[in-house]
Amino acid sequence: MNIQPVSITLQNTEDARPIIEAILADNPAATVSHYPAMVKIDAPGRIAVVADSVTERIGRDWDPQELHLSVITLNGNINEDDDVFELSWN
């Protein structure tokens, strides 16, 4: 696996907070940096945003496409599907 860093930055909002929590719970290698109005998450090689994890936290079905409302920027190749949104390098 290519362990070059992948990264996702989200707005620091009510909508994004459970997504951030889910990412940190599901990606133990991830590190988080807080900046005014935004939160940057980095991890070696891969970050997965698991729909079920976010759903569990917000108490309703969460569609990975809802990420579009909260994401600021990302780095890595994207794989988007119904149950997971994934960033990685080949």
Partner: protein, 505 residues
């Protein structure tokens, strides 16, 4: 309940499923622009947009973004949001951003519409169409911010007129003119990949976080709302590059050259952003150097390692650009400080606490090269001799920035390159800009260089006030030092009135 169609299948159906092959017209007649650059595409179906966003989902999410954004814009206007910013000097950065970048958003809207019509792959058409709409949205939301700040602050009253005329605005304008006058695949490489993927983080992310830190609700809101689209645009950029490289080996050197060219073009343009971050934000998030390390070196490094398997190497002059992180913001500030009499924003003398911060962030260069100059300028101002450079600067033929950058191995010597073309000499500011000029001299000899145009008598007259009138600058309000400006006076009155009850005005 009907079973939900899986995302991948839905994306197939609503992109390629809606397309058709031409029968009674030759496809080459319908799509006349996508072959002349020499790019070979064998199978457009190999295109896979990683964000599987279909039109129905696009409108749903964009509508939600707009609802949130306009609620905040309304609130800023209703609640005197201009009072919440840290300092009126902060607005200098926003004036530069709004007058420099917002017209580019509109240009991008137009050109992505052009691409959506003229690229023959369906996935690419859909992505370009969405991006065209996004860019129009960005232009509109930024114009709302202009509209609000224009009620209270100077220099924002005629941004479209100024964009076509004013010397420093020719830097972003010529960057985009260069891109839209290129072929479709070069435009994708220039804007979607080199600018959006590799460099736009430096424009939007730390700068918008800086806006938040400085209490600028209007800017943070349009900035992050735009940036949420930007992650889709970046992804399009990466997809375009991978698609072109996978389609045919012959595409690799063509794409590599475009990456080399547009990385450097973008780097030069972002020198302005570096200056805004280091000098114009009263409260700092991070230095330009730190942002460069995070986004260009670390993230860019990971990206180019990923692309190495296609035979793509990091951009030419990448190391020079990295080396410039120690100096570029200081050099650009120096240029704008001395020509602020000809600009629609203010500059000011830097106070000691700010200098100490710069010194800590730039331990290798600030005290040695830049602090003495700032000290001298401050002293001159104190003696009533605020420094304005009344000679017009020579401009780089490619980036159009005054020739104030320095040699890679010597930050005290101006870097100055000369090329000959058809018996004339052309000057560029760096190896990067000279490389670009030498590859397409027939393009860059046509550059509309503001200083040349002034000397040729095309800009309202021979004297500086004539030119500034032609720019539509309000002399004595928009331009000159912040110290003593009407804006400083207004800001001080606002701040004083916070402590003294005053009847509503």
């Amino acid at each position: 309940m009907a079973k939900k169609i899986p995302l991948k299948r839905k994306y197939e159906l609503m992109t390629r499923g809606l397309a058709w092959d031409t029968t009674y017209q030759d496809a080459d007649d319908i799509y006349p622009y996508d072959k002349f650059e020499g790019i070979k595409v064998h199978n457009w179906d190999d295109w896979a947009d990683p964000f599987r966003l279909t039109q129905d989902a696009y409108w749903k999410y964009q509508a939600e973004k707009e609802r949130k954004l306009y609620a905040v814009i309304d609130s800023v206007a209703q609640n005197n949001g201009q009072l919440s910013i840290t300092d009126a000097r902060y607005l200098g950065a926003i004036k530069l951003f709004l007058t420099g970048v917002s017209p580019l958003e509109y240009q991008a809207h137009r050109h992505f519409a052009h691409l959506a019509r003229n690229i023959r792959g369906t996935g690419a058409q859909v992505a370009a169409q969405m991006q065209s709409l996004d860019e129009l949205r960005h232009a509109q939301t930024q114009i709302h911010a202009i509209s609000h700040y224009n009620k209270y602050f100077d220099g924002l009253h005629d941004f479209t007129h100024m964009h076509d005329r004013v010397w420093y605005l020719s830097v972003p304008k010529s960057f985009f003119d260069d891109a839209v006058s290129a072929g479709p695949f070069e435009f994708f490489t220039a804007i979607s990949f080199s600018f959006e993927y590799v460099l736009t983080n430096l424009l939007f992310v730390p700068f918008m976080s800086g806006a938040a830190y400085n209490g600028d609700l209007a800017t943070v809101t349009f900035g992050f709302s735009a940036q949420s689209d930007e992650s889709r645009h970046m992804t399009l950029g990466l997809e375009v590059i991978k698609f072109l490289l996978e389609q045919d080996e012959a595409n690799v050197p063509i794409v590599q050259h475009w990456i080399d060219k547009w990385f450097w073009r973008g780097h030069r343009l972002l020198g302005l952003v570096g200056m805004m971050m280091d000098y114009m934000l009263p409260k700092k998030i991070m230095s330009w150097k730190q942002a460069w390390e995070m986004y260009a070196e670390e993230q860019g490094g990971a990206l180019f390692q990923d692309l190495a398997r296609y035979g793509i190497r990091p951009p030419l002059h990448f190391e020079t650009a990295c080396n410039e992180k120690h100096r570029i913001s200081h050099e650009v500030w120096s240029i704008l400080y001395q020509y602020t009499h000809a600009a629609a924003f203010h500059t000011w003398d830097i106070d000691d606490a700010h200098k100490d911060w710069l010194s800590a962030e730039y331990p290798d260069t600030f005290d040695k090269y830049y602090r003495p100059r700032l000290d001298l300028w401050k002293q001159m101002s104190a003696e009533g001799k605020r420094f304005y450079n009344m000679a017009l600067p020579q401009l780089c033929q490619v980036c159009q920035i005054p020739m104030g950058f320095t040699e890679p191995d010597d930050p005290t010597t101006i870097s100055f390159r000369v090329s000959n073309y058809n018996g004339d000499r052309y000057h560029t500011c760096s190896d990067g800009c000279q490389y670009i000029f030498d590859h397409e001299p027939e393009k860059y000899v046509q550059a509309w260089l503001p200083v040349h145009q002034i000397f040729q008598g095309n800009c309202g007259g021979a004297e500086v006030p004539d030119v500034l009138a032609w720019y539509h600058l309000n002399l004595g309000a928009d331009n000159m030092a912040y110290e003593g400006s009407p804006e400083e006076q207004l800001w001080n009155e606002w701040m004083a009135s916070r402590r003294v009850p005053v009847a509503g005005s």
